[in-house]
């Protein structure tokens, strides 16, 4: 069995989950706090990837991340190499695809925090940033964990989007979901089955681990 696509998928999911939690947390916080004109529009825009069929999303991402798209060109000016058909490219595609799954649970967790707890922190001398790190984050671990679970499983399972933007390059963008698809397509059902059999317990144990974290954090909140 070819283990490379599996390792690539796990690496991709880990990197995307890590990056997305860090990037989405301040955004989710801003959305939970602020009341500004157009907030509803921004939220709908963030949720758009959930509503689009993945191949449609993949197509549009290919256009904007390609050598003629604004994101692709921006990337090339900064790094000197193209964005599509690279590992970095599929990471970015996943960040966009999974953003709504990260934002929703985190926003819900932040909204549940008592406002007077934050004010108490301010009066005690904490800046808004310090409050975010020392008060808000520790009190919304279950929301963060839920976001991490969702992003991880969607990253592993992502297919349509990665198919378009990745180009199925072995070792770079050929993730296990694409490898399984190719195996089925070329009638190599046994190989496909083997990959599935390995994938399931790995994903399951990760989900279980995060579930335990959520339960522990809920115990004292």
């Amino acid at each position: 069995m070819d283990w490379q696509p599996l390792f690539l998928s796990l690496k991709l999911a880990a990197v995307s989950t890590f990056l997305l939690i860090i990037l989405a947390a301040p955004l989710a916080y801003a959305l939970s706090l602020a009341r500004f004109v157009g907030k509803a529009f921004l939220e709908a825009l963030i949720n758009l990837p959930m509503a689009l069929p993945p191949t449609v999303l993949g197509f549009y991402l290919l256009v904007i991340m390609g050598p003629k798209g604004f994101l692709g060109r921006f990337w090339e000016t900064i790094t000197g190499s193209p964005l599509v058909f690279t590992f970095q490219g599929i990471v970015i595609a996943l960040l966009i695809y999974c953003l709504p799954f990260a934002i929703q649970p985190m926003k819900a967790a932040f909204e549940k925090i008592d406002r007077s707890m934050l004010e108490s922190a301010y009066v005690l001398g904490l800046s808004p940033l310090a409050t975010f790190l020392r008060v808000i984050i520790p009190n919304s671990i279950s929301g963060l964990a839920a976001a991490a679970i969702l992003v991880f499983i969607h990253s592993i399972g992502a297919f349509g989007v990665l198919l378009m933007v990745g180009g199925s390059i072995p070792g770079e963008t050929k993730v296990v979901s694409i490898a399984i698809y190719e195996a089925v397509e070329s009638l190599a059902y046994r190989e496909a089955g083997r990959m599935c059999l390995v994938l399931i317990p790995i994903s399951y144990s990760f989900l279980l681990l995060l579930n335990l974290i959520t339960r522990r954090s809920r115990a004292w909140s």
Binding site: L62, P67, F85, M164, L187
Partner: protein, 247 residues
Amino acid sequence: MRRFILFFFTLVLFVYPYPTVAGESLHIAVAANFMQPFKEIAKLFESENPVSVNATFASSGHLTGQIMNGAPYDIFLSADEERPAALSQKGFAEKPFVYARGRVVLWSAKKELCGVSGWQEVVKHPSVKKIAVASPKVAPYGAAAMAAIEQSSLQNMIKHKLVYPENIAQAFQYAATESVDAAFCALSSALSEQGKKGCYFEVGEAPPIVQGACVLMRAKDRQTVNKFANFLNSPEANSIKKKYGYK
């Protein structure tokens, strides 16, 4: 409550599969690359016979899998010979026959490459950074392209440039949107409206893609089915095929 029941029954009425009124119908599974010529051939057949031809276009591997799991097709038009042969061997189909021969070409939307002498020069060209070739495991055209690359001993030189979309249509799309600089695709794509906006190079080293078809065991009305199967190699059908770059 009454309204709900009424709604439910209306829904069932719409969803219930009614048999088509217009005489008989054929259900054909067609490899995606043959979509355009097939549509013309089917229309021609329908005008001469009281039959409606319904086609499903997908990758050959996809369709083979479906057929093996009981999909109700009458004929399967594959992009290769191996799959119909496998189906026949496993008892899902009659003996296969050839219905078309396709050619792999290298196509690019970049006009500045049009003057280059041959496809090998194009793939080696420094301005060509990414080349799409359909995944050889699943697409016969991709496999033919890889064979040509290997035969020209170019695989090590251009390996880092290769990108593997899942099917030949996607490969062409990558090149058409200039996400890649060139793509190996079917001659039919190169001859299409979109294809005419770029230029293509013959890939002599690639073996011709022999596309095989087979009548499936599930087919009911054998007479009509066989009529269509024969029609695929009729002179009218052949001229349509030629127009699209098939032999």
